[in-house]
């Protein structure tokens, strides 16, 4: 059988996306917002600083941080309606009746939404080139940062898709997706802060002797993103919490990143797995049992 790498959902949704005026307008607004943040931060922070490498790092950090929050905000909105809107439009049954497997439907929806986010990320590349002009940041660092941003896009997309298969209404699915992402972002921050205040130990400090972070912070996407920027990019990339990783040994930082990335990947894959199962009408327990009983097969 011939291997087919194309996905009809991706082809169709991209076609529809790219021919509406909404797409270039959204892109324009996004880039204008980025430019606004970039210019505002640059003019504020450059006062009193004459070093061009710091300016480069500043531009880079501003871009990366804004993009991080944009992805966290729009990721769920792109996928939370992926399946539920098909259900609302009464097109889901027609989709399931085709020869596309539930896995192909879910991956198609995920790739479509991620492609849109990838487009947003890639469209800012010219801004990053300004950072390269000033120096202080390498293309490799930018690539790593973008890779982490795509991981965030994948995770938020998976969360949105999961709830899209669980709830019939897109509104409910969107709210639940944002609740979970808020829980991951702010909930883990609060839990970490509680742990820090309860134990009164040294955290994120060379005085601690080693990297000692509250457990909840390992699961926080922003801490992961900051670790990537703070450790891999150059140790002093500016961000809201980049300073906490200064002074820790590189392998400890890398371990922190690995745990964070592994957690996000495991959660995302698990949510996609459940989404695929929920989309398959023949996968529900009772149904499968009935089918086996009729064929004389033994339940496994």
């Amino acid at each position: 059988m011939k291997l087919r790498l194309t996905n009809p959902i991706v082809t169709s949704e991209m076609k529809v996306l790219m021919r509406t005026w909404r797409t270039p307008i959204t892109l324009l607004v996004y880039l204008a917002t980025m430019l606004f943040f970039l210019m505002s931060f640059s003019s504020l922070m450059s006062i009193g600083s004459g070093r061009s490498s710091e300016m480069g790092l500043l531009i880079y950090s501003t871009l990366a941080n804004v993009q991080f929050f944009v992805i966290l905000l729009i990721g769920p909105s792109l996928t939370a309606g992926a399946i539920s809107s098909e259900r609302e439009k009464q097109t889901l049954d027609l989709l399931i009746c085709t020869q596309m497997s539930p896995l192909k439907i879910v991956t198609g929806k995920l790739i479509s939404s991620m492609s849109w986010m990838l487009l947003l990320v890639i469209s800012t590349t010219p801004f990053y080139s300004i950072a390269f002009l000033y120096g202080g940041v390498s293309p490799f660092a930018v690539a790593l940062s973008m890779l982490y941003l795509m991981l965030c896009a994948f995770a938020t997309g998976a969360i949105g898709l999961f709830f899209s298969t669980v709830f019939k209404k897109t509104a409910t699915s969107s709210v639940m997706s944002y609740v979970v992402i808020f829980g991951l972002g702010v909930g883990t921050l609060i839990l970490g802060a509680l742990e820090m205040s309860a134990t009164r130990g040294y955290y994120f400090s060379p005085r601690a002797g080693a990297l000692r972070a509250p457990i909840a912070f390992y699961f926080n996407p922003y801490f992961g993103f900051t670790a990537v920027n703070g450790l891999l990019v150059g140790g002093n990339a500016r961000s809201i919490i980049a300073g906490i990783f200064s002074g820790v040994r590189p392998w400890e930082g890398i371990l922190f990143i690995l745990i964070n990335v592994a957690f996000m990947l495991v959660v995302s894959v698990f949510m996609l797995f459940i989404a695929v199962r929920r989309l398959d009408p023949m996968r529900a327990k009772g149904r499968r049992r009935a089918g086996r009983a009729n064929s004389g097969g033994e339940p496994r």
């Binding site: 082809t11 020869q99 089918g291 009729n294």
Partner: protein, 309 residues
């Protein structure tokens, strides 16, 4: 071997039995009508057949293989049109069909020709480059029928394909279904418009409260239920009505008589020659006949009698 067969198909929604031990079989090449009142279990049965729902027990066999065990295989053999469906409004008609052709693994090389053929079949050739949201409801239903045919399925499962259509659109749908039968397609169709269903279907299954009440051709179902063809008369006056009643009551070829307004119905299972002889006999006796006709039970009458039992 039937192309479609349900074997003691049962479906419970919680504790509510939507289908109980449903057994029907549809032979290749026939149009099979699926009839029942609202909530009888037609859509549930069709959804199970179309791999959109599991069964509580029992099975559906398509070409001898279980739909529940091999849904992917079943989807290759089935074209399904649900009673309520949506379309992707922001796609053109040609793109809509191309999307489903791609989703059904139809090779890219032949897709355009195939779409053109299907659009011709459903009389939408001139709408090829129109956006789907500009189509009327009837056109969307015909487009959905074309979609269900995109992978050349052997069996079509059509749930109320003509619902909400105007008479002209229904007539067009009827002729399309006849054309599909001519192409050798097997069609399972449910509809509430029984008169039109009886014109195109070879056999029927009548279900009520999730149970099969009767199956077969109208004649077979009528025969099984003891419903015979009738000879119907309308007379010039009430006196003619009474005289004819007296004559037909003792006639050896007519059965019990019933009155329906000014129509006298006599159970009659004879030939056309016998019917003509009875009419001549009544005329000779001085009965003024305005009209006389021999009628089999209509699907609607059979349906009402079956469901009321």
């Amino acid at each position: 071997m039937p192309l479609l067969e349900t074997v003691r198909l049962t479906k419970y929604y919680g504790s509510f039995p939507a289908l109980v031990d449903l057994n029907i079989s549809v032979e290749e090449g026939e149009i099979y009508g699926f009839v029942g009142p609202n909530g009888a279990g037609k859509t549930t049965s069709m959804k199970i057949m179309a791999t959109l729902m599991g069964a509580s027990s029992g099975d559906v066999l398509i070409d001898g293989e279980s739909v529940l065990q091999k849904p992917a295989r079943a989807r290759r053999l089935i074209g399904y049109m649900p009673d309520f469906f949506g379309v992707y409004d922001n796609l053109k008609v040609s793109e809509y069909l191309d999307f489903y052709a791609d989703a059904c693994n139809v090779p890219k090389a032949g897709r355009r020709t195939l779409a053109d053929e299907l659009l011709t079949l459903v009389n939408l050739s001139d709408k090829r480059e129109c956006y789907v949201d500009t189509l009327s409801r009837g056109m969307k239903q015909r487009l959905c029928l074309a979609r269900s045919l995109i992978h050349d399925p052997r069996l079509l499962i059509l749930d109320e394909p003509a619902s909400g259509m105007d008479p002209q659109a229904r007539a067009e749908m009827k002729s399309i279904l006849k054309a599909l039968k001519g192409q050798g397609k097997t069609i399972l169709i449910s509809s509430h418009i029984l008169a039109e269903l009886s014109e195109i279907c070879d056999r029927f299954a009548i279900i009520s409260r999730g149970q099969l009440m009767a199956a077969g051709s109208i004649e077979e179902i009528s025969g099984a239920l003891g419903i015979n063809p009738r000879l119907c008369f309308r007379f010039l006056s009430e006196t003619d009505f009474e005289n004819a009643t007296a004559i037909l009551r003792t006639h050896p070829e007519t059965g019990p008589l019933t009155r329906d307004g000014d129509i006298l119905e006599a159970v009659f299972d004879g030939t056309d020659q016998s019917a003509a002889a009875i009419i001549r006999h009544l005329s000779a006796a001085g009965v003024n006949i305005v009209s006389a006709y021999k009628t089999a039970k209509s699907l609607e009458q059979v349906f009402l009698e079956v469901v009321s039992k």
